[in-house]
């Protein structure tokens, strides 16, 4: 088929697809949340003010565990495929040339890390959570790498060790999730008291999961970014 023919066919099919979807999805404004089981009892059952966190790390923790597995496998895959081909230039400590970048990076690094930590710690009370907090932290480290050079950062976070830590934390998370069976409860049950709703120490196991996931994602993000930087040979 010629490319024009493909283009015409594509336009026809895609627009028909869109029209079909729009016509059949009988959208008439969202339903109210009155009959929603999560809204009815979510906060008191999980102890998390942020219902999204409550669902994410309590009601549907099973999904989140597997999602974490996907993330870890992606990190593993990126490292496996990028690092196997030995980078021809071992010294990648090239610092960003423009002083503006350095100063901006210096200035932004602290606040970004702070935001990351805040998202993790208060994930059950306000929007945020382990995943977004960890990703923000990892991205902050990229800024640091841009200012100081990736090698400097990498030396602080020794690769082999942080990888062990990353997987160790994943192990901890699963063990923690499976642990209730030793107390004769179903796996993934929240054993801790949910505490007074709205306080920092509430939400049962949710803050613990948030913390562990946060550290894990933080490391994972950095490993991905560092693998890309190393493969590229400069920042």
């Amino acid at each position: 088929m010629k490319s024009t023919a493909i283009g015409i066919l594509a336009i026809l099919l895609v627009s028909a697809f869109c029209v079909l979807l729009l016509l059949t999805v009988d959208y008439h404004g969202a339903r109210g949340g009155t009959d929603n089981p999560y809204l009815a009892a979510g906060a008191s059952e999980t102890g998390a003010v942020n219902l999204v966190s409550g669902i994410y790390l309590n009601y549907r923790l099973y999904d989140s565990l597997f999602e974490l597995l996907i993330f870890s496998m992606a990190v593993l895959g990126v490292r496996f495929y990028l690092n196997a081909e030995k980078s021809t230039k071992p010294n990648v400590a090239r610092v960003a040339e423009s002083p503006v970048v350095r100063i901006a990076a210096d200035l932004l690094f602290g606040p970004i890390m702070l935001i990351g930590v805040y998202l993790i710690v208060f994930g059950h009370l306000s929007p945020g959570g382990g995943f977004s907090g960890g990703a923000v932290g990892g991205t902050g480290l990229l800024l640091c790498a841009a200012a100081l050079g990736a090698e400097v950062v990498a030396r602080r976070f020794h690769e082999q060790i942080i990888e062990q830590i990353e997987w160790g934390i994943l192990l901890l998370i699963i063990l923690f999730a499976v642990a209730p069976i030793f107390f004769d409860r179903l796996p993934l049950t929240d054993l801790l008291p949910s505490g007074r709703v709205g306080k920092l120490l509430s939400g049962g196991t949710i803050p613990i999961y948030n913390g562990l996931i946060g550290i894990k994602v933080f490391i994972g993000t950095w490993v991905v970014i560092y693998s890309f930087i190393r493969h590229r040979g400069e920042i």
């Binding site: 059949t24 099973y62 597997f66 996907i70 496998m73 495929y81 192990l171 069976i181 409860r185 179903l186």
Partner: protein, 513 residues
């Protein structure tokens, strides 16, 4: 509780073997042993036809994620165990990187999670893991061809899963639940609603891309043919079946039987034609997987208990034989150094004897020679099909398979042969034994009285007749190679085709209610 432990346990062991890389290879057999024990104890609870259900975290069905074990999930769990064991033994001597074993554990974890899953979004997450694992496994040796096949696979799979997510969104918006059981209750009597038809189409199309349904799975031949033999065996034998399992789960709730029959028919016929006229061993096996998936879908689409039993038995049977064939084919390609059957025939003195026997057994099973497991499953399925056109369709697919696999007959010359590595021979044995012992495999889904009452001399006669006829057709066709269009396997054309068949599926669904 055991239901949750199977996936989570493998998840855990996978992480453990990553942390303790030197032991990764040796942990795997022990883990499999534990699995056998766990599945065995579950089996005793579902054997009577009941199912075991568990909502994680102790919540209600409307809040938490439900896992359900029934005979079908356990049957496929057994298939997963056998295939993994065979692959591990097959690769025992060629020390793989620990990475490989970690991926195997994660593959098992996701397979167990999927066969028990009863939640639309949970299925989404687990299918994505399967995508990721197969993606990493296909490109594992880092050959450019594999990487390209993997990338095509990933792009199409991601497109499919986005469609699936749209479907999930529509369903949740209208019903407020993701649990399949609850969903079934809530949509009762709503089958003619347009939104439900669209959502069903989106779900079916999304999963079909993973399941090896012809028009949706144009990535499959390249990926399965270019991966290393062990990986191909796992992908073809196991991962594809997982898509079929999900389609089956959906079909119990949504009314999708007509599209399944039509898509299955197309898949079967086109797959059979491509199998007949492909002269590259592993690519031919990959196409044969397509045609057999057609079989499975037709069975699920017919929807009577017998048809479903036949179809899912066939799923397990095909997993075993295709696994065996891919492992043996890998050895054939390795020893002769050629991917094409004609050149392999020319150098066949290099093919070890055990490999030859394995190839022979796998072929016999896949063409449905009584009393192997392939025959058993095909017989059940054909007994369940009472409409004539469908029956003819199944006969055609079987015929195509026989014609295609007759190409292997020159390879099976018993005069030649040298001895094989012991590990390889054992791994063939692991898969070949259940093929011979057909009865246990079919008992998984149907009681043995039913099996014996349905599989009479009529079925056996039909099967043998098909094999004979197929061989004759092969003899006629032998000298006339045919080149079939390969362009549809390009990424762009594949997406166009997927869209086109999306509409076909939609109108089939709309027409059937």
């Amino acid at each position: 509780m055991i239901i949750a432990l199977l996936p989570l346990g493998h998840f855990l062991i996978g992480v453990l073997s990553l942390l303790w890389q030197r032991g990764a290879r040796r942990i795997l057999p022990f883990a499999l042993l534990i699995d056998v024990a766990l599945i065995g104890s579950l089996w005793s609870r579902v054997a009577g036809g009941t199912s075991v259900s568990l909502v994680l975290g102790g919540w209600g069905r409307d809040l938490g994620i439900e896992l359900v074990a029934d005979k079908i999930s356990l049957g496929f769990s057994f298939l997963a165990l056998l295939l993994t064991l065979a692959v591990t033994v097959y690769l025992w001597r060629e020390r793989q990187r620990p990475y490989f074993y970690v991926l195997l554990h994660f593959l098992l974890a996701s397979v167990f999670a999927l066969v028990f899953a009863r939640d639309l979004f949970n299925i989404y997450v687990i299918i994505e893991i399967l995508t990721l694992v197969s993606f990493l496994l296909v490109g594992y040796e880092r050959k450019a061809r594999q990487i390209w096949a993997s990338l095509n696979y990933l792009i199409l799979a991601a497109l499919g899963m986005a469609m699936y997510l749209f479907g999930v969104g529509i369903i949740y918006y209208h019903t407020g639940t993701l649990n399949l059981t609850l969903l079934g209750e809530r949509i009762a009597g709503m089958q003619d609603q347009l939104w439900l038809i669209t959502a069903s189409t989106l779900l079916v199309v999304g999963v079909s891309i993973k399941a090896g349904v012809f028009v949706f799975s144009l990535w499959l031949p390249a990926a399965h043919a270019s991966a290393s033999p062990a990986v191909s065996a796992l992908l073809s034998g196991l991962v594809i079946k997982m898509g079929v399992v999900v389609l089956f789960r959906l079909s119990t709730v949504l009314d999708i039987s007509l599209p399944l029959i039509v898509l299955g028919g197309i898949t079967g016929v086109v797959g059979a034609v491509y199998t007949m006229f492909t002269y590259e061993l592993k690519r031919m096996l990959a196409f044969s997987t397509l045609s057999q998936v057609g079989y499975l879908l037709v069975g699920i689409g017919i929807g009577t208990p017998l048809a479903i039993a036949g179809s899912l038995t066939y799923g397990v049977a095909h997993g075993l034989s295709k696994g065996l064939l891919f492992l043996a084919a890998g050895q054939v390609v390795n020893t002769t150094g050629s991917a094409f059957i004609s050149e392999q025939v020319a150098r066949q003195e290099k093919i070890p004897r055990a490999t030859r026997i394995a190839l022979f057994v796998g072929t016999l099973s896949i063409i449905g020679l009584p009393p192997l497991v392939g025959f058993c499953a095909k017989g059940l399925l054909s007994a369940a099909t009472d409409s004539l056109p469908l029956h003819l369709l199944l006969v055609f697919v079987s015929l195509g398979t026989v014609v295609a696999f007759s190409k292997l007959t020159p390879l099976l010359n018993p005069r030649y042969g040298c001895s094989d590595e012991r590990a390889k021979a054992i791994s063939y044995g692991i898969l070949a034994l259940p093929i011979f012992a057909f009865l246990p495999a079919s008992f998984l889904f149907v009681s043995w009285i039913q099996v014996l009452s349905w599989l009479g001399p009529l079925q056996a006669g039909e099967s043998v007749a098909i094999i004979g006829a197929g061989f004759l057709v092969y003899l006629v066709l032998r000298g006339h190679p045919v080149r079939l269009p390969q362009r549809i396997f390009r990424l762009e054309e594949a997406i166009l085709l997927i869209l086109a068949v999306f509409f076909a599926t939609f109108f089939l669904l709309a027409g059937s209610v």
